[in-house]
Symmetry: C2
Subunit: 512 residues, 2 copies
């Protein structure tokens, strides 16, 4: 696997409703982190200018060369690019606006010349901007959502944008394209990064609701060309939408993304809500790079970002489990979060057999969440045996099929379970799945077993307790207070409590 650099500081801002636990009243929330797991809330970054305005998804860049002119004598000027959506009695225009920060991203001033792109559309949103060094231009991808078109615009200065090309009607359509990202992406085995176009769709995904798909390809400064006509899906669970890639990581290094871990089919209904002061969460931060999977070809690897750095203690380890199992009570793990790995090694094409299964059970209620992988074949994730939420769209079972790599001789399943969310990874992230779940009592017992594995193969397993991502920020009541603000154009906001580490935002997040 490629290894990424240590990211010094990440600064996400994202769609945030400071007055409720459902979508609406959208602001840009803001938090900072040095490790992508522990986050410090900051003041709300961008406010709507009035009650008919919503601040929608977008992105941010560092304008090192002061192309915008906003930053004389500065190399750390930050420009945020976002969609301003108007809602009166009905949906109004969506335009692209910018705001700049001269204090390193803490406070933003809206550009007086806004909007920077206006095309008289009610379905035009979610700009993602990168710097294209070869042409010395900024490049924006933005969704003409209802037309299944991703527009590509270029700009010398972030203020004046020229339409360059469209990428349209590729892959799964659903009912709209949203939250496009275009980023340079390293290709394993090559020194030359490719480009990746990333398109979220909602509703109408194959599993129902929202999903994200991607297209490896090339980009010449104005036109993106996909390598083929294939629809590749980013996550085989149902709770991984609109991931955003952080800005500023060199294209030769693994990129980093964070997704919103829910689905529009039920995100407003799941049981966390008014009492907790939070509802949705974000996915784990992920390393991403392209690889060539045996026979299947292009595949975007998505693996937890430096998760071992968050381990607090080892709960179980066995370098030669054989066809056996481990059982552990993790009720004393304060964070409630575990990371596990099960690696089957020394495999050959002739010894592909058996499966590895993990089950997380509640000792109080008997509810469980289960995952398993058949060596060289299907992997499943099953949230059927939790009873805290019943909804016809809350699909219970997810699965994907991988391909064994004879060169490595390895088949592996790893994952993180964190109270009400589980993320699993096959073969280091060749496939990944994200699912929320809602038991009526906490899960606190883990069983991991291997069955039917060839005696010529080796099964090594380990389970670690993870640090709490938010304990350092909690108040005496155990609550982490959200993006408190002392004032805004539209009045005072009550604090919305948040929980779970990186997962500060109700909605989607724009990387900085």
């Amino acid at each position: 696997m490629l290894r990424g650099r240590q990211v010094r500081r990440m600064r996400p801002t994202g769609i945030y409703n400071p007055t409720s636990t459902v979508a609406g009243n959208q602001h840009w929330g803001h938090a900072t982190s040095r490790d992508l797991y522990h986050w410090e809330n900051q003041q709300i970054a961008i406010f709507p200018s009035g009650p008919t305005e919503y601040i929608y998804s977008g992105s941010a860049v560092v304008d090192v060369n002061n192309t915008s002119g906003f930053f004389p004598n500065q190399t750390n000027g930050v420009v945020a690019i976002y969609t301003l959506a108007i809602y009166t009695t009905q949906a109004g225009e969506q335009t692209q606006e910018i705001a700049y920060s001269r204090d390193g991203g803490y406070t933003f001033t809206k550009y007086a010349g806004n909007p920077v792109i206006s095309i008289n559309s009610t379905q035009f949103r979610d700009p993602k901007v990168i710097w294209h060094a070869e042409t010395q231009k900024w490049v924006m991808v933005v969704a003409y959502a209802a037309e299944f078109v991703i527009g590509i615009y270029t700009s010398p200065n972030l203020r004046e944008w020229t339409h360059a090309s469209n990428f349209s009607h590729h892959g799964l359509l659903g009912l709209q394209y949203e939250c496009p990202n275009m980023v340079q992406m390293p290709m394993e085995g090559s020194d030359t990064p490719m480009y990746l176009l990333w398109i979220s769709i909602n509703p109408g995904a194959p599993l129902g609701g929202s999903i994200t798909q991607y297209f490896p390809g090339t980009f010449n400064g104005t036109h993106f060309e996909a390598v083929d006509q294939v629809a590749r899906i980013g996550d085989f669970g149902k709770d991984n939408y609109a991931a955003q890639f952080f800005y500023g990581i060199p294209g030769t290094e693994p990129q980093v993304s964070i997704a919103w871990a829910s689905n529009w089919q039920y995100c407003q209904l799941v049981p966390t809500g008014p009492q907790e002061g939070w509802r949705s969460s974000m996915s784990l931060p992920r390393y991403n790079y392209l690889t060539n999977v045996s026979r299947i070809g292009y595949d975007l690897v998505s693996a937890p970002y430096n998760i071992t750095g968050q381990a607090s203690r080892e709960l179980a380890f066995n370098s030669s489990l054989g066809n056996s199992s481990i059982l552990l009570d993790y009720s004393t793990v304060a964070s409630g979060a575990l990371y596990f790995e099960a690696n089957v090694t020394h495999l050959t094409a002739a010894t592909l057999a058996g499966s590895v299964n993990v089950t997380f059970t509640s000792s109080q209620s008997g509810e469980s969440v289960r995952a398993g992988t058949y060596v060289g074949g299907d992997t499943f994730l099953n949230r059927q045996y939790t009873r805290g939420f019943d909804n016809p769209f809350f699909t219970d079972k997810f699965s994907a099929t991988g391909v064994f790599n004879e060169t490595t001789g390895v088949w592996s399943l790893s994952g993180v379970i964190d109270r009400s969310i589980v993320e699993i990874f096959v073969n280091g992230g060749e496939q990944s799945a994200t699912a929320t779940f809602f038991p009526t009592a906490p899960l606190d017992i883990m069983a991991l077993s291997a069955t039917g594995i060839s005696p010529n193969a080796t099964v090594s397993v380990a389970v670690w307790a993870l640090n709490s991502a938010w304990a350092g920020n909690e108040n005496v009541n155990g609550t982490v207070v959200g993006n408190v603000t002392t004032g805004s154009a539209t009045g005072n906001y009550s604090a919305a409590a948040v929980r779970r580490g990186a997962l500060l935002f109700e909605g989607r997040m724009a990387g900085l």
Copy 2:
């Protein structure tokens, strides 16, 4: 909607294992029907020539002009085109062979010059042949399964084939392409049919396992060109695979297809089995045509073929249900099969609200199967509340999203439930879903309700009992005996009992 002609007689042959209820020992079974619901078993059509041979999927044509030379003085000569797969200690070569029938399709003679296409591949199968009048050539599509390529071959005589082009890496890949079909397909609102390329994938579908996708496009006799790079999925359930289109229906009329109603992830494990003498079933026969759905664009409509012709009596009817419900006990319906329709009419974009829900419940066990549609939005199918089969890949909930058509002002849900399979249709087949289910006791109570519908809209509902498709063929024990044969190259076969109308074949079916 387009209306299809009455089909006089259909003659499917399909992959069939006469000695077991699991895949293996593949022959071509054979049955005939005048209505696509009542079927008469015929002798096995094509046998393997020895124990290392399997007869795999393919298709058949009527060689009216005796292009093959097999049929002097005949206009009803039938040629079957199939894959011969060799299995010894491991998978051997797959080649394309032909066999001809001079008695109207009852008995077949293998061509002495077989194979007609051989490329030294173990992953090369499922030929589907049509006649291309403009070039006066036969055209075959066939899968290079592991390479994600559909090969297009042409032939003047069905014996000599020339490779013309490849269609590759489009849509969802999964792990292999299988069972391609290319057919002329009428386009609603146009006098000129389009072509449709239909590709099944397995495993690795978004829902897990197997699924079918399609590509509208043009075909010039050698090259197929898709209208765009979109992956369109044929069915939003999990039990509709490898549908085959019947041969010989003019391209200006709706085409007819039948799918295999299971999923490779669990088809060998579902509870029907040795005791019943059958396991899988086929889908309802379907009318198919292309239409242009509001905003989404190209959509393949799939609706039950002449289902009202199979109604035996009306169980419920209400032309103005309002926000109310009907409840009926259908335990006295001998077939166990119902067709229902719920049409919400006189809708406008401003009155899209509410939902229509149907539930089929077992009075003995309380188990149920449920479906519902939110007017103008999501439709779901839920088999979660049946308990006869528990498997991590037996996904329980399926959903899709439709688009309201202001021109018609209609939103509708219809469907057929038949003991252990349910097929639902939104807006006359703009979306469709197929799901098998396995209750521990028969479902026998139906509830249909409308809630939250605008008072300005009208809800009309009807439920019909359906004729039994197989009662006419059953013996004194209530069993329908399968494809009995009096001898074969590999010995005698025990009869494999079959059930459920059109659903004669364990595996996939090739249309004739």
